[in-house]
């Protein structure tokens, strides 16, 4: 096939000279302790990138003409240089889309954000009711998030996003999430719950059932305005493909920069198995993106393995490597949530001893080093939200 005629989707699997966008977790510090946190956040890492190092990363991204960066954490607004860095990025034409729990999004900060160009805001909730949400994100977190949304609305910020991780408990509230979004003129985003970070401990209990996934798929098909960030591409094997590239972008068109400068294939695989390098090494981020062994191998054609004989492999691409890795399944085999149930068979057949054990990561710990039970209640003084 002539090079120019290669479908974009195929071209993306081979990787690009620079990411199209990427996720950058600014800090592992967080004032919430959500049960499913993909980055096991809570405690700031002592080796966190300095303000100068962070600006240098922005310089690199601007040189590589990365169009925008998804900023998150932990809670990114806990970085003392948060606004400086965001301002610095947009001045260099690197757009910023940041994700926040909203606890630090005061009315004054909402007004400040409203005055900035090329900054998009996303507020996380995981339930349409406080009870559903707070059981995952901690007592008080729903109220704080709604206050942040009200602050954005009052500041005439414009359209923001509401982001939900779909679980067994909130998948029955999809219409209510839609209503909340509509009430603010906001966009709704649904994201797949992956067994990453602290999620590994709750995935069995909280990931949607097969029947719920089918329902979700049909709900999404009818609502092309709901964003998914392509995170449900494994469901495309059910029939008509969902919107998006329908493939894993990790190490190919996206990646993660973590708070200490480690570069991972994506935010859902913060594990040494998927660590490509560090921006503090010679050559910086560009060298890691273009030359790391990990990313080069991800840009090779991947083996379908056990999925090769399945007629739907082209649609689902074998699903999500994070979902497979953290449930102890081989990467060249079915996704644990394979819509045809092949994943369940694989889970039953796996060697449970081979599971990557839950890592403490940056979760808050007691003085014995034991992770504090999650979720923890939000501790904030009401005047902090004024």
């Amino acid at each position: 096939m002539p090079t120019e005629a290669m479908p974009l989707r195929q071209r993306f699997t081979q990787g690009l000279d620079a990411p199209i966008c990427l996720t950058w977790e600014l800090t592992y510090a967080c004032n919430l302790a959500c049960v499913h946190c993909l980055s096991s956040s809570g405690r700031r890492d002592p080796m966190e990138l300095t303000a100068a190092e962070a600006r240098h990363i922005v310089d690199e991204l601007a040189d590589m003409k990365v169009f925008y960066v998804n900023i998150g954490g932990g809670e990114p607004m806990l970085r003392p240089d948060f606004f400086d860095l965001v301002g610095y990025a947009v001045d260099k034409k690197v757009g910023v889309k940041f994700s926040t729990n909203g606890t630090r999004l005061t009315a004054e900060r909402a007004r400040r954000l409203a005055g900035m160009d090329y900054v998009d805001v996303q507020i996380s909730i995981d339930g349409a009711l406080a009870s559903t949400n707070d059981s995952v994100r901690g007592e008080g977190s729903f109220a704080a998030a709604r206050t942040a949304m009200d602050n954005l609305a009052a500041a005439n910020f414009g359209q923001f996003k509401i982001s939900v991780v779909v679980t067994r408990e909130n998948v029955t509230q999809l219409d209510q999430f839609s209503e909340i979004a509509e009430s603010y003129g906001a966009q709704l985003r649904l994201t797949r719950f992956r067994p990453s970070g602290r999620g590994v401990e709750t995935w069995d209990r909280l990931h949607p059932t097969a029947a719920q996934q089918r329902m979700l798929y049909h709900w999404l098909l009818e609502r092309p305005d709901v964003l998914t960030g392509d995170s449900f591409f494994h469901l495309s094997a059910l029939g008509e493909p969902l919107d998006g590239l329908n493939l894993c972008g990790a190490g190919r068109v996206v990646c993660l920069i973590d708070p200490v400068g480690d570069v991972y294939a994506c935010p859902f695989v913060i594990d040494k198995e998927f660590l490509a390098g560090n921006v503090r090494d010679a050559g910086g981020f560009a060298a890691v993106w273009r030359q790391s062994d990990l990313f080069q191998s991800l840009r090779e054609p991947q083996s379908a393995g056990a999925c090769a004989s399945c007629g739907s492999y082209d649609a689902c691409q074998g699903g999500c490597m994070a979902a497979k890795f953290f449930t102890g399944l081989p990467l060249d085999g079915p996704d644990p949530e394979c819509v045809f149930g092949h994943g369940e068979d694989a889970l039953a057949a796996r060697d449970a001893a081979a599971l990557p054990g839950p890592a403490v990561g940056h979760s808050k710990v007691d003085r014995n080093g034991t992770p504090i039970p999650v979720p923890t209640p939000v501790r904030f003084r009401t005047r902090a939200l004024a």
Binding site: E4, I20, C21, G72, G229, G244, F268
Partner: protein, 37 residues
Amino acid sequence: MLLSEDQEVLDTEALSDEEVDELLVEEVSIDGMCGVY
């Protein structure tokens, strides 16, 4: 094997205008790539 006249016409006009245009410009949803959140 000789192609029928109909088949020959089809082969040279195999792509619709739209398909030909897709060879030049394609839009991709910026939200449509997995690996961000």
